[in-house]
Amino acid sequence: MTYEFLQEYWWFLISVLGALLVFLMFVQGGQSLLLQKNINNRTREMLLNSIAHRWELTFTTLVTFGGAFFASFPLFYSTSFGGAYWVWMLILFTFVVQAVSYKYRNADGNRLGRETYDKFLIANGIIAPVLLGGAVCTFFYGSDFTVQMDNLTKDPMTTGNVISTWGQYHGLEVLLNWRIVCFGVMVLFLTRIQALMWFINQIDDNDIQEWSRRQIIINTAVFLVLFLVSIYALLTATGLKTVDIHQFQIIRYRYLLNMVQIPAALVAFLVGTLLVLGGIVWTILNTRFRNGIWLTGTGTVLVVLALFWIAGYNDTPYYPSCTDINSSLTIYNSSSSRFTLETMSYVSLAIPFVFAYIAWVWYKLVK
């Protein structure tokens, strides 16, 4: 196995984990729906019960996504987490409170009250998809950082020796980038649609089925507008191309070109989009159809895979620097060593077995 192959393989694994994470965030989408005013107590409990036992899987996927990024692309971990401090901290705050909410909200002796935990769930349901979506979107539009390896040998107490330095807003500057905000909100509405599909699939209750289908129409309308704007912005965006390991040149329509030049990404994107839209339309039109989640879920995974591929493959830096383009990160200049990637690749062979037992257990649980 060549070093390049290993780097590309690990980007593929990262993209798989990222895609699964976006799909599994239907849990967050469901939580965000608690904000709807026309939900009574009974409906709220039924909705939450249907996603309550899934949050661990989403949570674990997020942790593994972080761990895999750390192991395979440590320079990204170092640069993004240490720099976009507030984005990651806000994500963390909401996941911390989410982790206890399902277990504690109805427990006897719950001193904070059920409503508090429901607010935690709503906060996580809205903030996590928007910020995680926004964080992924910086793969295209970049962030405000520089990487200077030589800093390591400077005096940490006087000049500072941090290799990745950021602008003073530490990630909050993404809120001023309409394209990133639009993308993040789009992810939120996608997770809400997935959650509604999940409710239809899981809950045998006519009122909830009907309510979910109505909600799908409203959420899809918003999602479609955001999706079209985001994709248009992405495909017409300027991006970078690697010239040498730390040298890049600016290319117009970079991601459109990538989509064309990476046929697998184009196919995944088109098929994924069709599956998402097909799942939605079928669910709206056929009131007896309850398996839309599997169509939109598969479609979501494919679209996210395609986005990761056009972000990182074809000599494209997946983390462009807006401050100094030569500090941009590619899968080749930010990865772990060949030895580590190779070792971890053997470990990764166990992933299908892990997925297999998870699938078996969940099949038994929901049967």
Partner: protein, 526 residues
Amino acid sequence: MNDIVTAIDWSRAQFAMTAMYHWLFVPLTLGLGLVVAIMETIYAKKKLNPDTPQTEVNEWLDLTKFWMRLFGINFAIGVATGIVLEFEFGTNWSNYSWFVGDIFGAPLAIEGIFAFFCESTFFAVMFFGWEKFSIRQHCAATWLTAFGASLSAWWILVANSWMQHPVGMDFDPDQMRNVMTSFVDVALSPTAVNKFCHVITSSWALGACFVISVSGWYLLRGRHTQFAINSIKVAGIVGMVGIIGTMITGDSSAVQVSQDQPMKLAAMEGLYEGKQGADLIGFGILNPNKKWDDDQDAMLMEIRFPKGLSILSRHDPDAFVPGIKDIIEGRDIVDGKEINTVNYNERILRGRIAQKALRDYNQAREYKDSIGMDNARAKLAKHYQFFGYGYFGKVDEAIPSVAMTFYPFHIMVILGSWMLAFLLATVWIVFRRREWIGYRIVGHPVYPWLAIITAPIAWVCSQCGWIVAELGRQPWAIQDIMPVQAAISSVGSGNVKLTFFIFLFLFTSLLVAEIGIMLKQIKDKK
């Protein structure tokens, strides 16, 4: 104080606070997980045996489900604090994440892939699979949840042990970082193996003390007596095995620390000047004005065990144990012969030479000067073992806080000794002298009260163990390679201070909530 110094301190405080909160819940998950798995196994055996009376089967089912409920309440908050720790390596220690991410990231990723998915999947079966899985399958899921938790501990302790004793790596000047050269050396380093055993067995002891403590409360109230006795039987055995294992692995830890981190050992004992046949301090009060290079007494008062430290750290009553001053000045005695180790002034000097060689290497590479690169690389390799010392201005900066290492160490040993005595006594009483459980002094039942106070003792003991391990390693993030000031992110102190207080508020609120729910569950048990 400049902003960099403040940012370092707040980053350390934030990580320490997160770790300490996390460690309130994790040992209970590890210990209680095993206790519940054993209880369910007993239940399953009874259920599958047609001769067992139904009341007995129900008794053990009730036992299993009750402790499982408490396990679940605790598990959730352990998960919540755990994710913060993983991400804080990136958010607050970004230089660290790059400098050793090639080695350190792998155990974290493996932990996610194997341990977290195992835990979270079978955790769901434990709680929601009673009707959907057979008894054997459900019991296996409970064991797998406990196993997953231990596996998770394994990988994170591999990572932590590597910070204490870095092995299986080389520095690559082209990449400006350390790279892994042997996964086996990292994953199976003796430090990691010993640390894992120490942490796991001590967690069993803590989990057992928790179960015995709650059971003690029922005994005190005269409620659920048989339930309490059965719980104490299982927990007593788990706790006894756990605490004996903790003592044995603690002894091995002392030997390893004396070899790999002699400064930490000296700080643990407040030993400034080494000697042959060094005494172990049972307890004492440090002289707060003592400096490493003055002649003041290190202790204001102390109780000593003659030659105890030599026995503990080198398994030889006459062995020389170097003190802080000896280590700084580069003195040690091995096999009766005085030898010179590298003194700290020289280490700092050589660390700076290594750092300069690295700068020269980069410059030579830029100019494509292959001879210059070879020379710089050779110089770097010669002095790299002291690379981290180059970040220090003077030797005092390389000494950990003696008070913050000495006191927790002694508190840990004293409380651990109490746990040993209590757990041995518990097993003896519950299996051989049941009537002693009701023994009273001045009208107060002794055993239940001792049981109740032992749970908080176990937690204090466990926390102290981690304080010794982590503060004793200071000022290093990675022993001898990277001090904490060189490991941080470029985040201003104000940001870190704010997130520190947000986390403090969140964790404290959730801890109060958890305790409230736990107490209610215990109080209202039917």
